[in-house]
């Protein structure tokens, strides 16, 4: 009877379409990092919908509404913790995913466009992280926004839509809230759909060391593996939310700079400390570098041992960012803009 019901559902829902073949190496952690990132994003969306019920996107009340959620609402602290830690886990899995794609040269012909879509998704995640940081409207949030507005000012006419002058009479926090809960997630979901479509269209990239040896399996087996990986990611998020509360300060004191940005942004802080314009130049150069990779690296070789220059870049990039993050965490701001 169960089999009969299963067949009826498969016929009605077209589930047999998920039985297409993919390479067996998909069922490994390194080839499931994208799926884990998607799990974290799903947790972010669901917890974000719940958080939005308690958030007041008004500069005068935003910070108090978050404090109210954490202190007074049943499980509010846990909900906020889950949202915060899902973003942290997403940052890690997404970064590891990008490193894996680079390491296995999966960005090469014919997957260049999907690499660019992936970079776009990474930028969207960074923007979501930034807008989320601002929304709690404490000192860290105020200073993050102050830096952002300074950058927007430097961009002249191109930065105008990002300033309060673009929509006078509307608090910027409201617009940031709108971007965080609707504009950015909608664009992200569309791009995730496109990213997945091209993964299917070009098929999973072969193992660089043995492209011909890979066995195939039905995609549903990979879905089952991702289900398990997703459950692990969710468990990790729950454990972190249960034990460590995310930072939350009081309402900001305007005109002060005393905090440091979250670790995901602190590398820019370290560079800004050297030379203020690096606040604009460094992220732009990083994005340009990432975008240019598939077009500059035309070598057909995919195995890492035969790509010494690419590996040097990868290791150098990781070491540089690790150093900047640690330096940004321990250093003290010395400049005055």
């Amino acid at each position: 009877m169960a089999n009969g019901l299963s067949k009826i559902l498969q016929d009605r829902l077209g589930l047999h379409l998920l039985e297409y073949d993919i390479s067996e190496h998909a069922n490994s952690i390194k080839y499931s990092l994208g799926g884990m990132t998607l799990t974290a994003f799903t947790v972010l969306v669901l917890s974000g919908i719940l958080l939005a019920q308690f958030f007041v996107p008004d500069p005068e009340r935003a910070n108090r509404s978050v404090h109210y959620l954490v202190d007074q609402v049943y499980l509010g602290w846990y909900l906020r913790g889950i949202h915060f830690w899902a973003a942290e886990v997403l940052t890690v899995t997404m970064t590891l995913h990008v490193i894996r794609v680079f390491f296995t040269a999966s960005y090469k012909n014919p997957r260049e466009i999907n690499w660019l879509i992936g970079i776009g998704l990474m930028l969207l995640m960074v923007t979501l992280l930034f807008t989320g940081t601002v929304m709690k409207w404490d000192q860290e949030a105020y200073e993050a926004l102050a830096h952002f507005l300074w950058v927007a000012e430097q961009m002249g006419i191109f930065g105008l839509p990002l300033t309060e002058e673009f929509a006078q009479g509307v608090p910027l926090l409201n617009r940031i809230y709108m971007a965080h809960i609707s504009l950015l997630p909608i664009i992200t979901l569309l791009m995730v759909g496109l990213h997945l479509f091209y993964v299917k269209y070009h098929k999973l990239s072969p193992l660089p060391e043995s492209p011909e040896k890979s066995e195939s399996m039905p995609f549903t087996r990979h879905m089952a593996y991702l289900q398990r990986a997703g459950a692990g990611v969710f468990l990790l998020i729950c454990l972190l939310a249960l034990t460590i509360a995310p930072p939350l300060g009081e309402e900001p004191v305007l005109g002060m700079e005393v905090t440091k940005p979250p670790w995901q942004f602190v590398w820019v802080y370290a560079l800004e400390n050297l030379w203020v314009p690096l606040l604009i130049v460094a992220p732009a150069l990083t994005v340009l570098f990432l975008v240019s990779i598939p077009f500059v690296d035309q070598n057909k070789e995919r195995y890492w041992k035969k790509r010494p220059l690419a590996m040097m870049f990868l290791v150098g990039f990781i070491l540089l960012f690790t150093f900047l993050i640690i330096w940004g965490k321990v250093t003290t701001m010395t400049h005055s803009m």
Partner: protein
């Protein structure tokens, strides 16, 4: 395959004692905030705040006093030239004190802590179930 199984065992070992750990965890309990502002209704208007706008303000006054773009000195250009840097020479006593926020250990007295432990435990059991049964794999 093996890393998942190992992870699930580690998580399970971690999960079961967690409730007891936190029930005893008075030593880690962060100082409980009895901030009046936080206890107040978030929908109340600060009536005694001279900066607060009265109810029913007109459209010219839609900016909040705590908003970045209220006053002329905000944003154009950004007033970072006047910002005082952490540990700077001018960090004098006349500046307002800002308490920096940090990660804190969750207190077991947080509202719904037991339920949160239950949800986490359930998530752990689901992961363990998937790991040992390997449904569909």
């Amino acid at each position: 395959m093996q890393p998942f199984r190992l992870l699930s065992i580690i998580f399970l070992l971690f999960l079961f004692p967690v409730q007891e750990t936190f029930a005893q965890g008075g030593g880690h309990k962060p100082e409980e905030k009895k901030d009046v502002a936080a206890m107040d209704s978030i929908y109340s208007v600060k009536e005694n705040d001279p900066l607060a706008e009265p109810a029913g303000d007109n459209f010219d006054n839609v900016f909040s006093p705590t908003d970045l773009f209220t006053a002329d000195e905000l944003v154009s250009p950004m007033p970072m030239g006047d910002m005082k840097m952490e540990g700077g020479e001018h960090a004098g006593h006349q500046e307002p004190q800002i308490e920096l926020s940090h990660h804190e250990l969750v207190s077991s007295s947080s509202k719904g802590f037991g339920t949160a432990v239950g949800i986490t435990l359930f998530a752990g059991l689901v992961f363990a179930g998937f790991t040992f049964l390997r449904l569909g794999e």
